[in-house]
């Protein structure tokens, strides 16, 4: 043993700089995990996963692709309507301006992909064991949760907004071919783009809450699909006024009242819809944050 001790003290090899660093200070005044640093760490984590970048690219492709398809379909429909009086009536009953919602026609898929991304970013921390490193570095835990939430929501908003804008740019010349006008700078277009992007960011936040609560990727994504895709259909199929009423309060049914020019029957008022969507985001996040703080990692 003594031989080993002499050998290792003599050897300059392991931790050479460690000695230099620590001799003066004891780490008391050195920087710790402020929110900005934790946010920076979460950004590094976000961009260093290939799967995350693939999901973002997939979102862009789907939103732009559906925008183009929808522009073509809408053009065909308008064409038919101009020759067929019956179709013209149908077109008129849909509010007249068909082209306006073309750029946001892929939102249903964007919310599924980015909602799943929200789930995965947190659930994978737990399934891979990364959570131990994360919460050892940030033992107060909530700064890491908030920073990750900020990254998820900002990226979801930005990717949706940019993809929707590009979808609009792609749709304009296609619609033009059929004699339909789409003004991307109109206040209505801007409102649709912003509301839908905020909505997708909200879905991603709900996904992250689910990933934090369940700590399981498959379970989180299935719950998300249940809330956004299965429940609206199930609630419609189940007879009775209760489910008809409850259906309005599902998060997926808040976008229509928020974006419609006038109130649509059988939906909430715009202000109610905003509150309901807000509650769907805030309540699961609060529960997730409290449990994340309390549970063992």
């Amino acid at each position: 043993m003594s031989a080993m001790t002499t050998e290792s003290t003599a050897s300059p090899e392991p931790a050479p700089s460690a000695a230099g660093h620590s001799s003066g200070s004891h780490g008391r005044s050195l920087p710790g995990p402020t929110f900005i640093r934790v946010l920076n760490s979460e950004i590094i984590k976000f961009r260093s996963l290939l799967s995350t970048l693939i999901l973002l690219a997939a979102t862009a492709v789907v939103v732009v692709g559906f925008g183009a398809l929808s522009a073509w379909g809408t053009g065909q429909f308008a064409n038919a309507a101009s020759r067929d009086p019956q179709a013209a009536v149908r077109a008129a009953s849909q509010g007249g301006d068909l082209a306006i919602s073309v750029p946001t026609s892929g939102i249903a898929f964007a919310q599924l992909i980015l909602g799943s991304l929200g789930v995965l970013l947190m659930s994978s921390e737990f399934t891979t064991g990364m959570a131990r490193s994360t919460f050892a570095a940030v033992p107060k835990r909530l700064p890491a949760f908030t920073a990750k939430l900020a990254v998820v929501m900002v990226v979801s908003f930005a990717v949706t907004a940019v993809s929707t804008w590009v979808a609009g740019l792609v749709a304009v010349p296609i619609l033009d071919n059929y004699g339909l006008k789409l003004d991307l700078a109109s206040s209505e277009s801007v409102k649709l783009l912003l509301v839908n992007s905020i909505y997708v960011a909200a879905v991603a936040a709900i996904g992250m809450a689910l990933g934090t609560l369940l700590r399981n990727s498959a379970g989180g994504i299935m719950s998300l699909v249940g809330i956004f895709f299965v429940a609206p259909i199930a609630f419609q199929l189940i007879p009775g006024d209760f489910f008809k009423e409850a259906r309005k309060y599902l998060p997926g049914n808040t976008v229509e009242p928020l974006t419609a020019a006038q109130h649509v029957p059988d939906t909430l008022e715009a202000w109610q819809a905003a509150l309901v969507l807000g509650a769907w985001v805030v309540i699961p996040l609060l529960v997730a944050a409290v449990l994340l703080k309390r549970r063992d990692v």
Binding site: A15, S17, I44, G129, R132, D296
Partner: protein, 307 residues
């Protein structure tokens, strides 16, 4: 310095750690020895604020881990070689960890070089061998240049060269005055690395002694004490620095005081003692004995396996 005081963790019906108290001092390598499932990892997770103790407390350098303003600069831990996102490269993992404390990129490169990860730093951590994973975990522990290092089974899966490297590294770090606390289930590994040993079994500390005593066979003996005032005597002896377990009512198992000192303490305070038995087994024997009864996963003798 790490100080645990009555640290207890209960999972449902299972008590993983049952009121352990110990002190890990700076400037030496303290081994944490116990069979698999003895509560080593749970104790270390509680030190790091990842698991919340059911009762009791633990501090590092005088503060609970969670209260430190720069925790990674106080304590570096390898808790689990797989505490890494499998799809992220080793370099990006370390970079993200460093970013939380404003640790510069140069330090990331330093720890990569120190742990010999240069060749694989840009590869996904999920593809690492267990040994590479251990090196990455050690690199992460060293990032903040901490005064205290906690390493859970660091030599698991390392090749012989790696084992020697870890041994030299922890001895070097302790030589700089740092606190090094490392766990293992192998007595032989501890004998070559540690200065001081804390042995844990069934969630209790069963020995807390300098390694010299163990190598020379003078394992710090336990003393069995029966008294009709166990709570009072517990308090008295704990005040004299003994670590005490109470396996049954009226029975205490005392480590760290000899029978004479215990008797003197009892007499001074008029506590009646009706049994005082030195348990003379050496630590090695005690450890083997414990391992035999306590391992979570038993295996069949070779003869039966081959049948």
């Amino acid at each position: 310095m790490i100080e645990a005081n009555g640290l207890t963790k209960v999972y449902g019906a299972k008590t993983a750690v049952a009121g352990v108290s110990f002190t890990v001092r700076a400037g030496q390598v303290t081994g944490f020895l116990g069979p698999n499932g003895a509560g080593k990892s749970t104790t270390m997770r509680m030190i790091m604020g990842l698991d919340r103790p059911t009762s009791g407390s633990v501090t590092v350098n005088g503060l609970p881990y969670v209260k430190h303003t720069a925790p990674l600069r106080q304590v570096g831990a390898l808790l689990d070689a797989k505490a890494v996102h499998t799809s992220r490269s080793a370099y990006n993992h370390l970079l993200a960890m460093a970013a939380t404390h404003g640790i510069p990129k140069t330090r990331v490169h330093e720890v990569i070089e120190m742990t010999g990860l240069d060749a694989v730093a840009r590869k996904k951590a999920g593809g690492f061998s267990l040994g590479m994973g251990q090196r990455l975990g050690i690199a992460a522990a060293l990032l903040g240049d901490p005064q205290t290092l906690i390493l859970d089974e660091p030599v698991n899966g390392l090749d012989p060269e790696g084992v020697v490297w870890v041994r030299n590294l922890v001895r070097h770090l302790a030589g700089q005055g740092r606190t090094v606390f490392l766990s293992s289930h192998l007595m032989s590994e501890m004998a070559q690395t540690a200065d001081h040993l804390i042995v844990i079994g069934r969630g209790r500390v069963i020995a807390d002694a300098p390694i010299r005593d163990i190598i020379t066979g003078k394992g710090q003996a336990r003393v069995r004490v029966r008294t009709d005032q166990p709570d009072r005597l517990h308090q008295l002896l704990a005040g004299r620095g003994a670590s005490i377990e109470a396996p049954e009512r009226e029975l205490l198992e005392v480590t760290g005081l000899d029978p004479r000192a215990i008797a003197a303490a009892a007499l001074e305070n008029q506590v009646m003692v009706y049994e005082l038995t030195p348990l003379t087994a050496s630590l090695e024997e005690a450890y083997m004995e414990l391992t035999k009864d306590d391992v979570e996963y038993h295996s069949l003798p070779a003869a039966e396996v081959s049948k």
